[in-house]
Symmetry: C2
Subunit: 574 residues, 2 copies
Amino acid sequence: MAPDTDAEDDASFPTDYEIADAAETEHIADVVEPFGLDREDLELHGEDKAKVRLDAIEETVAEHEADGKLVLVTGMTPTPLGEGKTVTTVGLGQAFNRIGKDALVAIREPSLGPVFGVKGGAAGGGYSQVLPMEDINLHFTGDLHALTAAHNLISTMLDNHIKQGNELDVAVNWVNWPRAMDMNDRVLRETVIGLGGDVTGVPREDGFILTAASELMAVLCLADSLADLKERVARIIVAYDGDGDPITVDDIDATGAVTILLKDAIKPNVVQTIEGTPAFVHGGPFANIAHGTNSLMADRLASHLSEYLVTEAGFGSDLGAEKFMNIVCRFGEMEPDAVTLVASVRALKYHGQDMWPPELDELEDEDVAAVERGFENLDKHVRNLQQFGVPVVVAINRFPGDTDAEVQAVVDHCEEDLGVRVSESTVFSDGGAGGEDLAEKLVDAAESDSDFEYLYEADVPITEKIETIATEIYGADGVEYHGDAEEDIERLTDLGFDDMPVCMSKTFHSLSDDPSRKGAPEDWTLEVTEVYPSTGAGFLVVLTGDVLTLPGLPAEPAAAGMDIDEDGTISGLF
Amino acid sequence: MAPDTDAEDDASFPTDYEIADAAETEHIADVVEPFGLDREDLELHGEDKAKVRLDAIEETVAEHEADGKLVLVTGMTPTPLGEGKTVTTVGLGQAFNRIGKDALVAIREPSLGPVFGVKGGAAGGGYSQVLPMEDINLHFTGDLHALTAAHNLISTMLDNHIKQGNELDVAVNWVNWPRAMDMNDRVLRETVIGLGGDVTGVPREDGFILTAASELMAVLCLADSLADLKERVARIIVAYDGDGDPITVDDIDATGAVTILLKDAIKPNVVQTIEGTPAFVHGGPFANIAHGTNSLMADRLASHLSEYLVTEAGFGSDLGAEKFMNIVCRFGEMEPDAVTLVASVRALKYHGQDMWPPELDELEDEDVAAVERGFENLDKHVRNLQQFGVPVVVAINRFPGDTDAEVQAVVDHCEEDLGVRVSESTVFSDGGAGGEDLAEKLVDAAESDSDFEYLYEADVPITEKIETIATEIYGADGVEYHGDAEEDIERLTDLGFDDMPVCMSKTFHSLSDDPSRKGAPEDWTLEVTEVYPSTGAGFLVVLTGDVLTLPGLPAEPAAAGMDIDEDGTISGLF
């Protein structure tokens, strides 16, 4: 989503679409050439989008050292206002290049589903966007479509297996592989399929999830080669048999065909920011039932190409950053050299408000006391990140309505109370120039000694992993297990899946598991309702409440206001 | 499907994959350059695939005369053996260029669904293939995926409208817009959606169709510009209200967003044949509930670029060719200059067999008498085409097992009994060289006087249109209406839709509506069961039996035998 900034509301400030439309782009081959990728290394999709060939990645990795610094962008607990994490990520990439450091950006690629629901793209905003924003928010290079097809091929093969005799004894009430669609089509959440008699198969309950929520998306983003992708696909569990033994993609003979469908999707996409910084926009897994960051393939390639890679994790430090550290860095054998925590005056005021639901209008007026009451949320996120042993720089993403006194209060708090680096950023309005100070402070931080460590070892008991995150990151007093959660853990331990990291699915609206609690909630217990394995991705998903894996459209969907004229000019998309 | 030729069974003859793999391709920009398209006119998808920009098409149309000759490829009644229509189309394009006539090829793009069912691609075969065959049979340039997304956006918007208050009074039991998937997933044919309570919407019966069966596919293939596409999308009927009045895509405010999703899919794709002939591979509508030929955009562009365009229609003369003449030529204001009717010795023997189901093994041995008994099927197809006033050339697609005596019997029959041009073609084994004689005869035919006319005027009553096709093309004695068919016709006439051409949905296995009847059945009556409007496409669909719009996978799906190695080499796809 583009941040909901005052600048956007200001009639004199151009819209994202106008800025993007006025931007001059270079041929994508010319954009990446200074970073060491030749035209032959690319598979062009038009002039401004390309995929990087797998053999080019292997060559780059073999020929160049992986000495690039990794800067992770995360945020405080998200508010409905938008804090501008993607904008900061894109702007920072531009800023690094402006201060003489070669830098690349890596962000997630958007899902088509949400585009038609609420207005706003997922390619940054203002003068810190990736281009071509229209294509990126629509079909882009087809990765999401390939994933949808691959996901549904598994479903088709499974139901066909059941219909053709069910030799594997698939338990039709224990199928764990729904169907997928990249569309916010809520009526598909719960369905009955296979009706119409013997010819069409065996009737059973089923449902659809958004493609971004498919385990295949997580697999694509964690695989480090085509061979690894295939191995991960093979071991995905799609159902259980009558004895409770797992049935995998490989058991239903779908590994090869599914991998074939993903052979291009695994190649990182490269585009450019509005200032010509190359940006990898590749993969977009959910940040609740999955790990929520762009592909390891893109990160891996970038670390061999530039001095700095700026990448983004979903939601706040409790979700995206925790998973980036404990899951992605572990699988990718990498570590962040510095972390930027994006904060905003408005988000602080939001967390400093006593009322629920919050009154967004109340946040417009200067209110330093409310900002200060919101510090407890910021502070907890800073401490969370410091637990991983990496230096933190707070980025105050300044919005036009923020007053100097409010911003100064945040700066003072960070420097004096927390003792962390802090910088005001105006990359939305000013592009890279608005992030130079932030970039300088990140260079300083990244070049200092860091002492990165995971929060837990992967081979400790499942409950210990969950409890470590609950108490040390979320601030809970402990964990309670409900429903079948304890049975799940016992079964997964028996199956030998207990040595995988855990992927927590928790509301992003609060550090706690109650979306209405702001700030840094205390005196509460995390309630775990289910634990299931994503064996292809390589983690155990821990549910702590209802997860919406297929959103719906609002009463007035953005799609209803979209148009395209006879020359192809689009309106209403952003 | 690749033709099931003896050459393929012969261990010494290379497979399609081996031939494709050994072929040297040129950069697609170099392939089209001699035909007047510049690199700037293309949107590249890698080195060997491109889309043609819409403004380049407009420029070409404005600057060059549309003086290219149009050659349509059709066939006798299909048999399980495959007659090689696509192979002949591709081979003919190559042959024309060999005899000094600039020629382009235009064929349908394959649907992903069938690829995983039965082994065999849809890009020609042998030395008459279009390349890159793998990509074309997989995601290609994403057109099918864009159509799937656009189709399902309409479904989503419709069910969201119902959930959000149903202001238009949509009758939930009279929704005519199923969901779509490009996968042979039979359990989705009949479903119940919207379960799970008030939050997810209104439960109702629904079903999925293959993307190729979506009216949007027909719309894409009949639109002659982006503006026309948008107008056609707007008028598609998705449901009826409580009063029986149609509710359109425009009524649910989806026109703009759907057209945006199709803005790239409407641009024709260009690739090359194995001998470097440019081939438009664009659009692939069903040939039963739709018209079954590639896009008008591709045909229109090609007619301004080359001396000859070779294009293909689905199934036999009774289905694809009839629709090409009566629907496509009418909408596209074009006419064929010559038609090639593809026949094979084996297909003739099949139609000359007395047994049902036919014994395919029986067709292996020389049997001139069986060939001659099969002439009645060939003859009827020749007469069908002659009714449109266009010259016919019979192409005998020779398979290695055919004997000279068998082939000669067909040649003699065509020349002496029918008085039509005939040529033996070996383009599968020999590429363009194997079709030079056929090309020469088609030049001769195309340069002769033709007197093209539609079989019926669009503004005659619906029943008259149906009866004309039934009696003059199918050879029926008349038409009987069952179920609600008469009511449908009355209602459609009242709604003012009676001036559209009709699109007949009939089995392709027979000239009659009974798939078990071979040859040229007589003494039968066509049974019409339903008539419904495809207002976006601009025709009325006439059903004469069950139509399978979502196939299933066989017990041993081709997907189960597919693999890809760590270098990306695919096996089992063809």
